[in-house]
Symmetry: C2
Subunit: 212 residues, 2 copies
């Protein structure tokens, strides 16, 4: 079979990709102000399901951009997501990216309390008392624990990105977080992942950059 | 809405997830010996398309396991994939995980030659002269350059995991790599990603562990 390559310069690949995504979305209706986030999730996964499954709480994009500009840090539940988030862009506003999953004290707390390390990670984050954005791409237990801590008034996240992926309590964890008062961006259903969590963080960072 | 959580212990979540995946795959036919890889990709993405789009060259799984046991290292095109690969498991057989994308010399070579950094990374890997597995989860240009170097006899990869994601030359890059004599695991079409690249590496590592 003859394979024909498209002649696109390295610097133009991303722009051309977004053109194709926009074309193929056709008349699909996206909530105003969320388009860049939705399209970047499709760009990251080549999965157009994200045009339908992403849910945004009211005014969440503006709140998220304000939080980042105000120096909020990001806590995530995987080293992969931490690795994928544009840390230089975030640092320009004063924020850092944390992942506590491999920390020795988190392993000990989890063992002592009989929880997942993801839950213990969220406890550690809550104890920081900082302005935080949570980007959960893997562990529904982390999202469920955030739900509980928000309900108990123990934390007040600036944003919860709820995109764990999988088959056990993933769907439910997302429905729970959407019942809180926290600003959220959630991929309803089973899909998501560390790549999607990082991608949503980066989409927000690039939106600030493009507005300047 | 009342949300009902499934009562599954932390240690049992993965096993329960694989049960659900197996159930939902139903009568879908998977190539013998590839089942664990396919199911782990579905586990990582919650996307059953991987039951259809993953392509395996003849005998590739056995060849890949032999390569790992023989101490082959893994070269990947993103820090995210590097972060996601189980480096401790690989190190037990003597291999390491490399990602050259952020290296200063790679940036310079790319600039000098007018290529992507992904292409320059592949050049750097080829020059190592080691037994290598390539795990490409992002850049079709990396996969296309591997195709060219394989055809020219400059490299003889032990395995090419070809799972870049996206819209420009992604589909084509995968068709090209499948025309070579290199052992390959490819996600045909647009889908893939760093998460899928890491997941396939880990699936292979866990297959060795489970056979012992």
């Amino acid at each position: 079979m003859k394979v024909e390559l498209e002649n696109v310069k390295p610097m133009e690949i991303e722009a051309r990709s977004f053109e194709i995504i926009t074309e193929e979305l056709g008349n699909t209706v996206l909530a105003p102000g969320t388009e860049l986030i939705v399209k970047r999730c499709i760009h990251t996964s080549a999965d157009f399901d994200y045009a339908k499954n992403l849910c945004f709480s009211e005014g969440v994009v503006e709140k998220a951009l304000e939080a980042i500009k105000g120096g909020a840090s990001i806590v995530t539940d995987t080293q992969m997501a931490k690795s994928g988030i544009n840390k230089k862009a975030l640092a320009r506003y004063g924020g850092q990216v944390y992942c506590f999953m491999s920390d020795e004290d988190v392993a000990q707390t989890a063992k002592k309390n009989g929880t997942t390390r993801a839950v213990a990670s969220m406890e550690k984050a809550a104890a920081m008392g900082e302005d935080l954005i949570f980007a959960i791409g893997n562990a529904p237990t982390a999202l469920i624990h955030l739900y509980e801590m928000i309900r108990e008034g123990k934390i007040h996240p600036k944003l919860v990105i709820g995109v764990p992926v999988g088959f056990v309590n993933v769907v439910q964890s997302k429905e729970l977080i959407m019942q809180t008062q926290a600003p959220y961006i959630v991929a309803r259903g089973r899909k998501g992942g560390s790549n999607i969590a990082a991608c949503i963080c980066n989409a927000l960072l690039y939106m600030i950059d493009n507005r300047r």
